[in-house]
Symmetry: C2
Amino acid sequence: MPPLLLGDDDVRARLDAPTAVTAVRQALLAHHAGTLTAPPRVRTGLGDGDLVFTAGQLREQGLHGFRVYDDWDRNSDQLVAVWDTGTGRLRGLVHGGELGPRRTGAIGALAVNALARPEASRLGLVGAGVQAWTQLWALAAVRHIDEVVVSASRPARAAAFAERAWRELDLKVRAVDSAERAVRGQDIVIVATNSPTPVLNEEWVSPGTHLTTLGPKTVSQHEIPAALAERADVVVTDSRAQVAGYAESHIFGLSTMTELGAVLAGAAPGRTSAGQITVFCSVGLAGTDVAVAAALLG
Amino acid sequence: MPPLLLGDDDVRARLDAPTAVTAVRQALLAHHAGTLTAPPRVRTGLGDGDLVFTAGQLREQGLHGFRVYDDWDRNSDQLVAVWDTGTGRLRGLVHGGELGPRRTGAIGALAVNALARPEASRLGLVGAGVQAWTQLWALAAVRHIDEVVVSASRPARAAAFAERAWRELDLKVRAVDSAERAVRGQDIVIVATNSPTPVLNEEWVSPGTHLTTLGPKTVSQHEIPAALAERADVVVTDSRAQVAGYAESHIFGLSTMTELGAVLAGAAPGRTSAGQITVFCSVGLAGTDVAVAAALLG
């Protein structure tokens, strides 16, 4: 039987958020248990830029594979390939741009669910691109959200985001005209920009908030203030190895970071009081894209 | 338009030897001209072994891509992916085990054609596996071969090889019961085994012979005698960078090796007299598999 080949239309039609979240949850727990091998990404330099490969082997599911993307500045087709480890047969391939962000959304939803206060129901989004969208898409499947506001550097994008949320997720989202209005007074803040400089002020974040940062977070380029990283009581990432593997240090100290898989397994504390600020530093654990692709390929 | 997905049946049905040889020739010349970027292979370690990626960018054709295979001991499905560099769209995918050896066969055919004496027409094959097969498949498309003999460690395989050559290539091949009988008196010798120790004796090789070695060729494991490597007058490889990138030294000194692309371009001498022994040390230039896949994908 030839491997299944799926594209963005298939991902949109067939991959629902609970499926993605379940697959990613299983992969995060497997990573904690040591049954997901997820080595640091490898790169190979071509004339125009690098191809980047993130591979993983899910031992319990008998699967391995990788995702590949390029780092030159375009929206090129990514590819995820999944093999049955036992037989060596290629199970399937997923190409395009839809799978990766949905996987990241599922990781983020699990982080918010584990780290935000139980009653947290007001969400502020800074950024209205595909990463912000898939965070909301996945989060709506695991948490009841009462109120969502979104801001973007281009206001029309925030408005379009709100309209899409209403149409596709049946969620009322209010587009606001500043990051401050998106952040102040929220229980949950998700920052999903490409900005190399902070897009919010740390005073806007109240005690008890959970904040997720998707965009730049190195010492020289970061979308949230370094002061907020210092003020955070609990900092969690999906992969300490990947944080350690960055060429440049993060604004978060690696020594104080907990892994999301450990929190989900109950092996490490997450939030321990209502007043704490929790931060999730999303780096995209390798192998989670293979897990989501495998769930989609069936 | 979704990327084209082709498998082994498609490769067998659609990829003829002249097409493979033409694509590889173009890639070797591009590598010499500096328009094929072919970095050393990269590996990522999973629980059961490594995934190995060989990537290449063919600037003149506006293509880039990679091949991936694993190094654990099975016959698993390989995958070649080809992108249009300009648009970032995935043009197509080829999976299975057929493309890689045919690409290697095409490289070998170009090497024999460039290095063997013009009148060389007697071929001896040591080894009767897939690599030996594709060497013959490609060579028959570029050279008139009068007489072929083949030996294998398992004689039944040599007999099956001969039968297949008759059926598929309309070539008379004689199966012989020893490597000595496959090597002595030939103009062209192709050694394609997995043997870590020499399968032939250097005295069996007459002056004027061209010899290709496909299998192990490091100092600790080599299928041809180290003495033969010393005796060779001209040593050519498809990629000096890949030879240099091996963890262990080759039995051939890198400093004396010429690249096949340079010989094909007329920029470096190959054989300069009828009595010389020429050796082709095949390592599989990265990017040539992408070139053959691109030719197949159309």
